[in-house]
Symmetry: C2
Subunit: 322 residues, 2 copies
């Protein structure tokens, strides 16, 4: 078995700085731009270490791993247009640099390359791999739409929120892990367990992310604390509050949504979070989901030794050390 | 063998009014909107009649035929955003009705369903079908970028223009025809010939389309004559003119690009077209390509009887009676 570092290096050696094409420049330059923005490459790494854990040949999995990273970047390019985001990791977004039309076309073209790379898989496993990926991609689109819909609603149930973040964030992690298992020839039971592991880990990560935005130490989070509160963002915190709050406090909260004094707004919403014990409830949910991820890992039939990279990754994601 | 009418009816019976999904409504309603705009459904029809001509089972080809129509609609949704088009066949475009963000996401989601339908093909032919389709889709993106690039250039060679319209228009027709042949189990030689037939037919169609915008009878063309001239659109006519014009006339033409009096502009550019015999040169090229399409059809190994639908479709596309 290879180390996480080795797997990461194998991927980087093959794909860092890759150019998907050259002409027309107006198409391929923006594609290279987004792919060159440094990232954690967590999806390809999950695919590779899952394949390796299940005893597969990592060399067979590199193209599919790259397909996961390409797909993630396709969603970033189009999401950045939808969110009117000008920067990504401090670097101008594609549409900011090249215009919205180029941004749309760049995303579309990257999406086709996702399938070009997936189709390099051996024919025998191609139908199963594509069925998994197509279902995942549809869910990600549905999750993006749900996210936009939720911004207009005050009655989002906790379960609906979990479905949305599951679609938006977790399914691609889960798909990457299952794809690695498929390539390694793992059993259907193990494929399902490793998918479940990815789902629960992604959900736990996203809920902890919501918590960190409000309760994290700002020097560690790396962004202005309370940003979600200022934007009235429908986080796990806010949705849990909306689902437990008294009628009187609810009226106050709705007024706070309009509050212009940001310092007062953050303090007043945090007072409501304290009154309804939202911080502890949120951490409890994140921890419960993390535990469910570890349970799913336990259900996999490979040896504890073979699971070590998966367990280490889970720990690193949980501790924000990845 | 089935008639063109029967094949068209088979497709309509299975897919007209189809809903790809229901929730979230914000995603699936715009998808239904674009798919419900009436169209000729030429791409699925070409796929079905090619499959039928090569002796394949049309029932095996319906899902792939629908994938071609879905892909065409995906390009329409995103192209309409890029062109800021508010109407398509007199019906509001997706982004006009639902906003640009919904337009981007609608196109993306339709694109995934293209692959969902393609992946319903038998596993044995899936790799070949996907390889053809992926290559085609990349060319269409490259063609779209070339088209945008050409609008900024005055030195486009005729061959570059043919490559661009080949990518933008012809390759999806050619791909549909070859996909039908693949499903029917046609030989590689016949697959290549039927692809070539589609390429040449598409090129001939597009060049004739350019000619009709300027020289067609406006009641038949159904749009304001000279629209391309008014917009300085890089058509086969204008590119041929730019490649043959004297330096003095070129200076006049460049001035005409800035002319605000549309009636004068159209008349003056048409006078240059007359001086350089552009109408005849354009029709000659369209006819030569149509003849090459028929030659490609002749090269196919099936009987003249089996080719009758392909020949009839070519004639109908050529005569604008489809």
């Amino acid at each position: 078995m290879l180390s996480i570092k080795d797997l990461s290096a194998l991927y980087a050696a093959k794909y860092n700085g890759e150019r998907l094409g050259t002409e027309p420049k107006g198409l391929y330059e923006p594609m290279s731009h987004i792919m060159s923005i440094p990232g954690k490459r967590i999806r390809p790494l999950l695919l590779l270490l899952s394949c390796d854990a299940f005893g597969g040949q990592v060399s067979d999995a590199l193209n599919a791993a790259h397909a996961m990273e390409l797909f993630h970047n396709f969603t970033l390019v189009h999401d950045d247009i939808m969110d009117a985001a000008t920067l990504r990791r401090g670097i101008p977004t594609v549409h900011e640099l090249y215009g919205i039309n180029a941004g749309i076309l760049t995303g579309d073209a990257i999406f086709i390359y996702v399938y070009k790379y997936l189709c390099m898989l051996p024919p025998a496993i191609l139908p199963a791999a594509l069925e998994l990926f197509n279902a995942t991609a549809v869910e990600i689109m549905e999750g993006q739409q749900m996210d936009m819909d939720f911004e207009q609603r005050l009655d989002v149930a906790v379960q609906e929120y979990l479905t949305m973040i599951g679609f938006k964030t977790s399914v691609l992690l889960a798909c990457s892990l299952q794809m690695g298992a498929i390539i390694a020839g793992a059993s259907v039971h193990d494929q399902s367990s490793v998918y479940d592991f990815g789902m629960k880990l992604g959900l736990s990560f996203q809920i902890k992310d919501d918590w960190l935005d409000t309760f994290g130490e700002s020097d560690k989070v790396g962004k202005k604390p309370g940003g979600d509160i200022i934007q009235n963002k429908k986080t796990y915190l806010l949705i849990t509050l909306l689902n437990t709050i008294s009628n009187d406090d609810r009226k106050e909260l709705l007024k706070l949504f309009e509050e212009k004094d940001e310092t007062h707004k953050v303090a007043a919403v945090m007072a409501l979070y304290a009154k309804y014990d939202i911080s502890a409830k949120t951490l409890e949910k994140a921890d419960a989901l993390y535990q469910e991820a570890l349970d799913a890992l336990d259900a996999i039939s490979i040896s504890t030794e073979q699971k070590v990279n998966l367990r280490t990754m889970a720990q690193m994601v949980h501790d924000r050390t990845f």
